[in-house]
Amino acid sequence: MIGCAEAVRLLWEYLDRTVEQGDRALMEEHLTRCRTCCGELEFAKELRSFLARSAERTLPPDVLRRLNESIEELGT
């Protein structure tokens, strides 16, 4: 049996499925009896997708132009 502190420590690895088998079972047992940690888990999922969609996708045109010019000069 683990407490909330240990569950919080294992949370992301549990989500990523990189947690060891024994810890996974302990985590799942904890989640059956702790609503707060279930909330933690849902929030970690949100945070993970928040990070992925927060990745900047704006390309500065002047930087691209200068770098494209550098590419054309390579090997010429």
Partner: protein, 200 residues
């Protein structure tokens, strides 16, 4: 470069250079975005350096399908070098109590938006892209790189291990600490930047 299986006899240096340029052109947007996430305003220098280094070594690339990952790997190292040369003083981060820090609980206890019925989501929505970039930039490079590569670039931890030439366990451990630090820095940044004052 463009022929797999070592059949390079008919490829002239000019062909090889053009094949490299074609790869670089196609990958440039991805490289620029990745460098901006890793080193912010130093991105252009890092990509410039990456292109030069990659061109010098392009004969080493035997499998064209590996080209994008090969370029990304060189870029990660160039970002490291550029960051080190700029020698900016890293923001001091407090590792004390990091393992037990929970952003979820912190938001619940502090209740920054008392009239909200979706407190945690409202907290995340208070962050714009610039705010996220600032929080990521505050992380020490050791933790920022795996966090960005896995959670923003979509690489697997084992691919990051290959890129950084470190064991998988090292990447997982840095990733763990990086995510915790990110959560902690999100709260501190939100407090400093006044994001907690605007109740929805």
């Amino acid at each position: 470069m463009s022929i797999a299986g070592g059949e390079k006899a008919t490829e002239t240096p000019a062909d090889a250079a053009e094949a490299f340029r074609a790869l670089a052109r196609a990958q440039l947007p991805r490289l620029v975005l990745m460098a901006r996430r890793l080193v912010g305003s130093d991105a252009e220098d890092a990509v410039q350096e990456c292109l030069l280094k990659a061109f010098q070594r392009h004969a080493q690339l035997k499998d064209p399908d590996a080209g994008p990952a090969w370029l990304a790997s060189i870029l990660v190292n160039c970002c490291h070098d550029v960051g080190r040369r700029r020698a900016r003083r890293p923001v001091e981060v407090d590792l004390e109590g990091l393992e037990r820090f929970s952003l979820f609980r912190k938001i619940a206890y502090e209740d920054p938006f008392p009239y909200s019925d979706s407190l945690h989501l409202d907290f995340l929505e208070a962050f714009g892209p610039e705010d996220v970039r600032e929080v990521v930039a505050r992380l020490p490079e050791l933790y920022r790189v795996p966090l960005v590569l896995v959670h923003m670039e979509g690489y697997l931890a084992k691919e990051v291990a290959r890129m950084l030439d470190v064991p998988l366990g090292t990447v997982l451990s840095r990733l763990h600490r990086g995510r915790k630090l990110f959560e902690k820095q999100m709260w501190e940044y939100a407090d400093e930047a006044g994001l907690l004052r605007g109740a929805p």
